[in-house]
Symmetry: none
Subunit: 244 residues, 2 copies
DNA sequence: GAGCGCTGTAACATTATCGTCACAAGTTGT
DNA sequence: ACAACTTGTGACGATAATGTTACAGCGCTC
């Protein structure tokens, strides 16, 4: 299922000048990759171990992370898992680097949440191709354009929401929820659909949780006549509408 | 006859009343799962080994098969393979249960053709969520196209109904009832048929209940000369018609 | 490590809707 | 016209769906 919310810092021209974090303990390979990335027009940031990587990802939300399978301390796969389970870093694209062309490694890397993998030794050309592919795959899904609906304005870029001109503050989930509704107005969505779109497909969350967030969103929109905008359709779900 | 409203209701979720085969040799887990499935509204059928499972799948084509990784005789993976290579059983959704969170197990299970996997111990909630996800993935999409009839308009997407342009509000059942009639106009349906189509097949409801809902629907459509549209055919049933 | 904001869930409160009944009203056949 | 039957109608608990509140956990900041 499509996930509209690739939250991370994503601009429309991600293919060039992307910031890429390289997590690799061998200095030689590290430098080789960094050099190559630089030539390709990207900005390379490096981390020597998983801890440092976590820090940097949280810090600067790179457009892509290259992770070596073998790392001192926390393994590459564990690192992927950590990144995937954190709300903020969940959607950062990841490419794994595996030393052996071993089937299991590849699959385990993918399974754990990586977007792609490359087996060493790899050619520079192959690396570039895959980076481009991953970035491109992610790019079209990010809707960073400001959205308007009635007297609501939501700007994913600046992460701001305003009602009738005056700005309000929303938590991350309420923000995504509102963004989803504003990009899909006038249409009824079941709790399950909302969970799939806003939270993500593979999440095990009580459907009633949606209700609570709807309420929170409503009360945040309170100043406006939000009850009119975000209405509940009994037996079906919720809907954002301009009509009465 | 086509039946739009088979089991699922048009807009809410689809995963009730599914028949699920549980292939598990440990009686305790077997029962636990069966009990849970029953509570979730599904019909649980069980098989203790792969042979029995094959038989039952071929026999009754369940909506979903839960297969334990470790089975006496033929392994779970082999069972999956057998099911996948058989024309008749090729498309039955499968969820694997793996005892250890071992990477290889998971991957081999998916690789061999399962739709999803769960590692034991798993929470009831997770099981339910995955079952729902798999069933939903397979569920046929109900047509969400707006329907028009005379001066009536019904839009499943926005869940709105309007008579001569002005919107009216209907409860879920009346909504489905009207949708059914609008998609099957000019034809008489008995109370039993209406129950089957709108409520679902195996419901135990008084036929006279249909009358009451017809009345409610009529009075909701009142503003228009609905008495003409939704007419009674004595001794036979009801019909939505444009003719006088 | 204490404080803080956010989240998911449970528990309770509140409605909306449902299914059924009893009876009224209408229809049919004789 | 009368009985036998079918359908309309309004009311009424029961129930399921939603609103609302409170709370405990978690990660993050300082």
């Amino acid at each position: 299922m499509e996930n509209i919310y690739r939250t991370p810092s994503a601009h429309s021209e991600v293919h060039l000048g992307a910031s890429i974090l390289v997590v690799e303990d061998e200095a030689a390979i590290q430098e080789l990759i960094a050099l190559n990335l630089g030539q390709a027009g990207h900005e390379a940031v490096s981390a020597m171990d998983a801890q440092e990587a976590l820090q940097r990802v949280r810090d600067s939300l790179p457009d892509l992370v290259l992770i070596d399978w073998m790392l001192p301390g926390m393994s590459g796969i564990d690192l992927v898992r950590r990144l995937r389970t954190n709300e903020r870093t969940r959607n950062v694209p990841i490419i794994m680097l595996t030393a052996r062309a071993d089937e299991i490694d590849k699959l385990a890397g993918l399974e754990s949440g990586a977007d792609d993998y490359i087996t060493k030794p790899f050619s520079i050309r192959e690396l570039n191709a895959r980076i481009k592919a991953v970035l491109r795959r992610r790019a079209p899904q990010m809707t960073e354009d400001p959205v308007n609906f009635k007297d609501l304005t939501l700007d994913p870029g600046t992460h701001r929401v305003s009602v009738k001109g005056s700005e309000i503050s929303l938590g991350p989930t309420e923000f995504k929820l509102l963004h989803f509704f504003m990009t899909h107005p006038e249409r009824v969505y079941s709790r399950t659909q909302i969970l799939d779109h806003v939270w993500g497909d593979h999440v095990f969350i009580e459907e009633r949780t949606v209700d609570v967030h709807i309420r929170r969103l409503r009360s945040a929109l309170e100043p406006s006549h939000s009850d009119q905008l975000l209405q509940t359709v009994r037996g079906a779900g919720y809907r954002l509408t301009a009509l009465p």
